[in-house]
């Protein structure tokens, strides 16, 4: 018999003691390579572990995000924590429970099937045996590899999974505890700010140290290596003032000055690209069918985390310890090792919570700053916190994208051939591979980097994510032009290419429905045989009391859109109702999601709702402006949706306990929400807007053109 295949992260980290331990009577510690980003993953992991081990949830502590003695699960990203990390956790716990049961059966000279576990205690035919995990633990070697043989709990036997569970991390945040990395203090710690290199290749010209010291109104020192310049001091207020002043008192050469033209996605066409064709070649003639073609664009977006990034580091006795709120402590360790020319075994990286990141923000770079300074000041713990403006300007942006949709349409109005042609920068700017940490561009003697690669299709793709419609269309292809140089540094933001791609494809579907004279809901159902897709579309239409062929063009409108995230995670359909005059006011959003087995329903709804609101903010407000530099540098120049602008949102989970397979939900609503807003605006105005964001200026311009 072949050994069963282990879930990916368990296969990569098979030793059971990496996952589970019983450190003290009544206590279970489980380790996850996933980190808490405000998405509630630690709570969900505790639910999974408690169920598989048959212990109360209160016994389980979840440790996460240290590079020593923990599973390496890469990045906490892509809505994969539960879909893959949760499976690994569940199997590891099931295997551990089976080892204990086998051992207890031997001691008691009975069959394993005679035993059961209740809150950690072992029972034989319902009678207490006097044994529990903690009495048996000393005799059981967990430094063995997972077998994957233990059967996971059947859905009917789950007690915690599937129940809404209060987030374990929330109370501390409501009582103002020191939970965030920003609140960490190390003995003898100094504060630091970096004088940021304006762009890769820029060199320090002059430094007016006296002026910066005057601005600091307190003692500071300068630390420099190559073009990496930092200000360090005991008093945070002084280094913050100095950091702000340094912008005007340090000159640079080789400074790039991007123009407003470059902030638009149109600029990407005609740039140097790496081309790929995914799918069959595009037919050269229309075969007598109707042609459809439309172009959709979106600008650069900021993660705009509520808090600027923070990092701490100390280099002591030849060992570097780093504290970070990044999404992947292991990849960061690798990138730091390369940047600092230090063996990875001499580096420990700890995850500490920060504010929500939604992707690759400045966290890794802030950690690298702290590490670079710590190496220059051995022994001294260094804490760096970026200035607000620094986070906006220097965090990696989500790439601008231009998507051309071309379709051939049959006589019955349905598409038979579909092309998505995409121009985009790389969505994978994470450290490692071909990407440096920011400090690495300024430090001397750095090794040249290979060409960075886009996220592979096997991992859901980057710019191509969700460009392939799930609908029944005979021939489909993606033409991907990866633009190799972008005017701003780019990387991963929630859903990567899914939002612009779903916006393009689902607006195009509405345009085709309109041409065919069919209601958008009916049209989608007519080209979808996937039962789960149909179910979310039908459900959301019912929730919103969708009226087929409702008249539009009077300033109020409704739109629907659907996507299955990555075409393999959760299914989501969204209906948006809004009003437009000069501006868009969202009146109501409905969403139906099938995320397979849902570990924590309230947690999933929280994530789905957050995705709706963030996507609405992207659609209505957000674009990074360029004008001689990054001209979006604070909350006035990069506004996001406010409390009074957020609509009521109704979310329904479809069959959350019906399936054994959880499907990632965290990023599922962003694409459908964007497209539903686009379709609702078109319905309200009778004009199609294809360029994002849907600002007042764009709406006015479109209305004037009519």
């Amino acid at each position: 018999m072949n050994a069963p295949s282990l879930p990916g992260p368990l296969n990569d980290n098979p030793r059971l003691d990496l996952w589970v331990s019983f450190p003290a009577p009544g206590k279970v510690v489980v380790n996850t390579g996933r980190v808490e980003l405000g998405q509630g993953v630690l709570t969900a992991m505790a639910q999974v572990a408690a169920d598989e081990l048959d212990v109360a949830m209160t016994r389980v502590s979840v440790r996460s995000g240290v590079t020593d003695g923990m599973p390496n699960e890469g990045y906490t990203a892509g809505s994969q924590s539960i879909q893959f990390g949760g499976l690994a956790m569940g199997q590891a716990c099931a295997d551990v429970r089976a080892l204990f049961i086998d051992h207890a059966a031997r001691i008691l000279a009975c069959g394993a099937n005679e035993l059961s576990v209740r809150d950690g205690a072992f029972f034989r035919h319902g009678a207490a045996t006097g044994h529990d995990y903690w009495t048996l633990a000393p005799a059981i070697d967990l430094s063995v590899n997972a077998s994957g043989l233990a059967r996971r709990k059947a859905s009917a036997d789950l007690r915690f999974v599937g129940q809404s569970s209060a987030r374990t991390d929330l109370p501390a945040k409501l009582f103002g505890d020191d939970v965030f990395i920003h609140d960490m203090k190390l003995a003898g710690m100094k504060h630091a700010r970096v004088v940021r290199q304006p762009n890769k290749g820029a060199c320090i010209g002059t430094i007016d140290e006296a002026a910066i010291r005057r601005a600091a109104k307190g003692a500071i020192e300068f630390v420099r290596s190559g073009d990496f310049l930092a200000i360090v001091g005991d008093n945070e207020t002084a280094v913050e003032l100095a950091g702000g002043a340094s912008v005007n008192h340090v000159t640079w050469t080789n400074v790039e000055t991007p123009t407003p033209l470059q902030q638009e996605a149109n600029w990407l066409v005609q740039r140097p690209v790496i081309d790929r064709l995914l799918g069959p070649p595009e037919p050269s003639d229309a075969q007598g069918k109707q042609r459809f073609e439309a172009t959709y664009t979106r600008g650069y977006l900021a993660h705009a985390s509520i808090s600027p990034s923070c990092g701490l580091a100390q280099f002591k006795d030849g060992h570097l310890t780093v504290w970070t709120h990044c999404q992947g402590v292991f990849p960061l360790r690798g990138a730091l090792a390369r940047m600092l020319k230090l063996d990875a075994s001499k580096i420990t990286v700890h995850h500490v919570q920060g504010s929500g990141c939604y992707g690759h923000n400045g966290a890794d770079d802030a950690a690298a700053d702290a590490a670079a300074i710590a190496m220059l000041m051995p022994g001294t713990p260094i804490r760096i916190r970026w200035r607000r403006e620094e986070e906006f300007i220097f965090e990696p942006k989500s790439p601008a994208m231009l998507v051309k949709v071309r379709a051939l349409v049959d006589a019955d109005g349905k598409p038979s051939d579909w092309t998505a042609e995409i121009w985009s920068g790389n969505h994978n700017g994470r450290p490692g591979g071909g990407n440096a940490l920011l400090a690495g561009y300024a430090l001397p003697d750095q090794e040249p980097l290979p060409q960075a690669n886009e996220v592979p299709e096997a991992a859901g793709g980057g710019a191509t994510r969700n460009a392939d419609p799930l609908y029944d269309i005979a021939d489909k292809r993606i033409i991907h032009h990866m633009v190799t140089e972008t005017p701003v540094r780019v990387s991963a933001l929630r859903g990567l290419g899914a939002m612009p791609n779903v916006f393009a494809l689902e607006c195009a579907i509405d345009e085709l429905a309109e041409r065919a004279g069919v209601d958008p809901v009916a049209y989608r159902l007519a080209i979808t045989t996937d039962m789960r897709a149909r179910a979310v579309i039908e459900k959301v239409a019912a929730m919103a009391n969708w009226q087929a062929n409702a008249p539009g063009g009077n300033g109020a409108g409704r739109g629907i859109a659907f996507a299955r995230y990555k075409n393999r995670a959760a299914y989501s359909a969204v209906v948006v109702e809004l009003e437009v005059d000069e501006e868009i006011r969202l009146r109501h959003v409905w969403c139906a999601t099938d995320g397979g087995l849902i570990v924590n329903p309230d947690g999933a709804i929280n994530q789905l709702e957050g995705g709706v609101i963030q996507s609405a903010s992207w659609m209505l407000r957000e674009q990074v402006r360029l004008d001689g530099g990054t001209a979006s540098f604070d909350w006035d120049t990069y506004p996001v949706l406010k409390f009074s602008e957020v609509p009521p949102i109704d979310i329904a989970l479809i069959n959350p306990t019906s399936s054994d397979m959880p499907l990632g939900v965290g990023e599922a609503t962003a694409g459908p929400t964007a497209a539903a807003i686009g379709n609702a605006v078109s319905h309200a105005l009778g004009i199609r807007l294809r360029d994002l964001p849907l600002t007042r200026e764009r709406i006015m311009a479109a209305l004037l053109q009519e």
Binding site: K217, P308, Q614
Partner: protein, 157 residues
């Protein structure tokens, strides 16, 4: 060195500073070790640093400590404790209102000020009162529900 006397959460404090323009936020966090009030922007734009100064909600990241001499500052640490939570904190727990939670200290303070001035706000009034607080995670609707709930509890409804 200059000394500044004021009170925080009902307790008198005295801090000696070289720079009398040091923002109140830095004093709370770095001199008094009260980390509940968060830094978000330093520009009075995001509301993470919201505190009550003599009962009025104020962003304190750019407020020099010198101007609060003699005044009473309330921070999130002054609201309640896990054993005796403020009704707002309890309502936020009940509604699971928050994701990363970084914005919550400031939002709790803004909400407390609102409910002191208007014990029965409509949802629209709550939203308007929180427009000075940014939540990037999209926890808005839960937060609005939690404030409504706390208002009802505080009214004894």
């Amino acid at each position: 060195m200059k000394t500044f006397d004021f009170s925080v959460n009902g307790k008198p404090v005295s801090v000696a500073l070289h720079n009398e323009d040091t923002p109140l936020l830095d004093v709370l966090r770095n001199e008094l070790g009260l980390m509940g009030t968060r830094f978000g922007c330093g520009l009075e734009q995001c509301g993470c640093c919201m505190v009550l100064i003599d009962g009025a909600p104020e962003k304190c990241c750019a407020r020099p400590v010198s101007i609060i001499t003699g005044k009473n500052v309330t921070t999130v640490e002054g609201l309640g404790t896990p054993d005796a939570p403020h009704p707002l904190q309890q309502a936020f727990l009940d509604e699971q209102a928050g994701q990363c939670g970084y914005c919550l200290s400031g939002i709790l303070i803004s909400a407390k000020a609102l409910l002191a001035a208007n014990p029965s706000p409509t949802r629209a009034q709550i939203a308007l009162a929180l427009d000075g607080n940014i939540c990037r995670c999209g926890s808005h609707n839960r937060i609005l529900r939690a404030v409504e709930k706390a208002a009802a509890v505080m009214r004894g409804a």
